[in-house]
C-alpha cells in the first residue's frame, strides 16, 4: 500500500543532493575500505590469536563489569565498530567497564582447536583474567550468537562468580535452522557430512564461511539499495562502509571445531538434549541459576526465534526474562541498539559504585 502510494509521488531531484549521492557512491566503489576506530581500549590478555580487550567506562557507575563474547564465525569488532553508537561505546558511556573477548582468526597452528578448547582454555581463562583485572567479586556475561551459546555452556560448567547472563540471538536448539527443511534433514541424517571436508582443509577458509553467509541471505540486494537511497547522507554512508567492511571481513574457523559443531550440534542436537560433553563433563544447562536475559530479534536472518526459546525452559534460574525486539541479527549490534536493550535489565542487577 505504501509502495503504491510512493510510486504515485513524482520524485523531486535536488541537483546538489544528487551530486553528493553519486559522488559518495563513486567513493565507496573506488576507495579502500575504511579504518575502524574503536573505543579506547587496552589488551589485558592474549593467547594465540585471541585477545581480551578492556574498555574502561569514562564514568564508572557499576562495580560489576561486563564480559562480551561474540560469535566464532565473525569478527568481534562489529560490537566496537565506532566510538559513537557502537555496543561497546554505548555500554561504557552507560557506566559499565567492558571486557571483550576477540577470538581472532585461527591459523593452521590452531586447526585442532575444539569447542572444548575454546570454552576451557580460552573463555574460562579470559573470564578469570577479567575478574582478576577488575578486582570485582562478580561479573556479567553477555553472549551474542555462538558466543551466547558458549557463554551459556560456560556458565553451566564453571564455578566462576557469574552474576548475570545475557544471551542474544543465541542458537541452542539445532533441530531447526534458517535453511530449507530438506537441507536440515540432510544434515541430520548424515547425507550431508562435512567431516572429510574439514579434515582436508584443516582450517576452514574465510572465503567458505563468507560464501555460507552470503548463501543464507539469498539475493542480498538490500544493503546496496539502502546505500543508493541514502548515499546523500554522509553519516549513513560512513556507517554503511564500516558495516560493508565487516561483512566482507570473514574469519577462518578451526576444522576440529567446525566438525564438532556440524556433528554434535547440527546433526545430533546434543546441547538441548543435555548430551554434549565438554572436557569430559556433560553440559547441563539446568545448572544455570543466575539471573538470565534472553533476547531475540524480529528480523533475524541467521538464527530463528525457535532456536533460542528452549533455553528459557532448560535453565533453573528463578530470575529469567525474555525479550523479543525489533531488529535484525546484524543491525542489533551494528546500531548499538543492543546496549540500550540490555541496560535497564542489567543496571537493576549490577552492583552500583558507592
Amino acid at each position: 500500500m505504501m509502495a503504491v502510494k510512493s510510486l504515485v509521488n513524482i520524485p523531486v531531484f535536488d541537483l546538489e543532493s544528487e551530486k553528493r549521492r553519486w559522488n559518495n557512491i563513486y567513493k565507496v566503489l573506488s576507495e579502500p575500505k575504511p579504518d575502524i576506530e574503536s573505543t579506547p581500549r587496552r589488551a589485558v590478555w592474549k593467547k594465540g590469536k585471541a585477545v581480551l580487550w578492556y574498555h574502561a567506562a569514562p564514568e564508572k557507575k557499576y562495580t560489576t563489569p561486563l564480559f562480551l563474547v561474540y560469535s566464532l564465525l565473525n569478527k568481534a569488532y562489529i560490537l566496537d565498530i565506532s566510538e559513537e553508537g557502537s555496543v561497546v561505546g554505548n555500554l561504557t558511556k552507560q557506566g559499565y567497564d567492558v571486557y571483550l573477548l576477540d577470538w581472532g582468526s585461527p591459523g593452521l597452528e590452531n586447526k585442532d582447536l575444539t569447542l572444548d578448547n575454546y570454552l576451557l582454555d580460552y573463555l574460562e581463562v579470559a573470564v578469570k583474567r577479567a575478574l582478576r583485572h577488575s578486582d570485582a567479586k562478580e561479573i556479567s556475561m553477555v553472549g551474542y550468537c555462538i558466543g551466547g551459546m558458549l557463554s551459556a555452556m560456560l556458565t553451566s560448567l564453571t564455578n566462576l562468580p557469574i552474576k548475570n547472563l545475557v544471551l542474544a540471538a543465541v542458537p541452542i536448539d539445532y533441530s531447526n535452522a534458517i535453511v530449507p527443511n530438506k537441507w536440515v534433514e540432510a544434515l541430520q541424517n548424515g547425507t550431508l557430512n562435512f567431516d572429510r571436508f574439514a579434515d582436508a582443509y584443516e582450517v576452514i577458509p574465510s572465503e567458505f564461511l563468507y560464501a555460507i553467509f552470503m548463501a543464507l541471505q539469498g539475493f542480498n540486494i538490500g544493503p546496496t539499495v539502502n546505500l543508493v537511497t541514502r548515499a546523500n547522507d554522509q553519516k549513513y554512508v560512513d556507517k554503511w562502509r564500516n558495516m560493508d567492511k565487516w561483512m566482507k571481513d570473514a574469519v577462518t574457523f578451526s576444522g576440529a571445531a567446525f566438525k564438532q559443531m556440524m556433528d554434535e550440534l547440527y546433526k545430533d542436537n546434543k546441547l538441548v538434549k543435555g548430551e554434549m560433553k565438554i572436557g569430559g563433563k556433560k553440559v547441563d544447562l539446568t545448572n544455570i541459576k543466575c539471573s538470565t536475559l534472553v533476547i531475540t530479534s524480529t528480523r533475524d536472518e541467521l538464527v530463528l526465534e525457535s532456536q533460542s526459546l528452549p533455553i528459557m525452559e532448560l535453565i533453573s534460574s528463578e530470575d529469567k526474562t525474555y525479550q523479543h525486539i525489533e531488529a535484525g541479527h546484524v543491525s542489533l549490534c551494528l546500531t548499538g541498539q543492543f546496549a540500550y536493550a540490555i541496560d535497564p535489565w542489567l543496571s537493576a542487577r549490577s552492583t552500583r559504585l558507592i
Binding site: M2, A3, S6, L7, N9, P11, V12, F13, K47, G48, G107, L108, E109, K111, D121, V125, K128, R132, P180, N181, K182, W183, A186, T191, L192, N193, F194, R196, F197, D199, A200, Y201, G218, F219, N220, I221, G222, V225, N226, V228, T229, R230
Partner: protein
Amino acid sequence: MSETNPYDSFRQISIMLEKGLNGLLFQSINNNPLIQVTKIGIEANSRYIELLKRNRELMANYMNLPTKNDVANAVKQTMQAEEKIDILEEQIWNLQDQFTLATQEQNKVLGEILDFTKHIHMEWQKASQELAALTQVKSEFEQMKKLLEKEKKEPVLAAK
C-alpha cells in the same frame, strides 16, 4: 528516511523484489537432487584438496623446503610456552594472594601484640605512679621518724 527522497519508491520496489526472489530461491533449492549434487561436490573438493596437500608435502620434501605445516608446528611450540607462562602467572597470583593473607594475619597478630604492650605500659605507668606515691609515704614516714627522734632527744637536752 525523508518523505521527499526520490529513491524511496526504488527502495520499496527492491525490497519487494528481494523478498519475492528469496522466497522463490528458498523453494527452488529445497530439493533432494541439489543436496546430492552438493554432497558429490563436497566429496570431490575434499578429495582434490587431500591430493593437493599430499603432493605439496611430497614436493617440499624432495626440495627440502619447509611447508606451512612445519611453520604451524613451530608456532605450536610457542603457544605451549605461552600456556606455561599463563599457568606460572596464575600460580604467582595464588602466591600473591597467600602472601596477602599471611601479611593480614601477621598484621593482626602484630596489632594484638601492640595492644598488649600498650596495656603493659599503662599498667607499668600505674605501678610507677603507685610506687612514687609509696616512696612519698615512705619519706614522710622517715621525716616523721626523724621528728619523733628529735622530740625524744629534747628532754635529754633539757635534763643537761
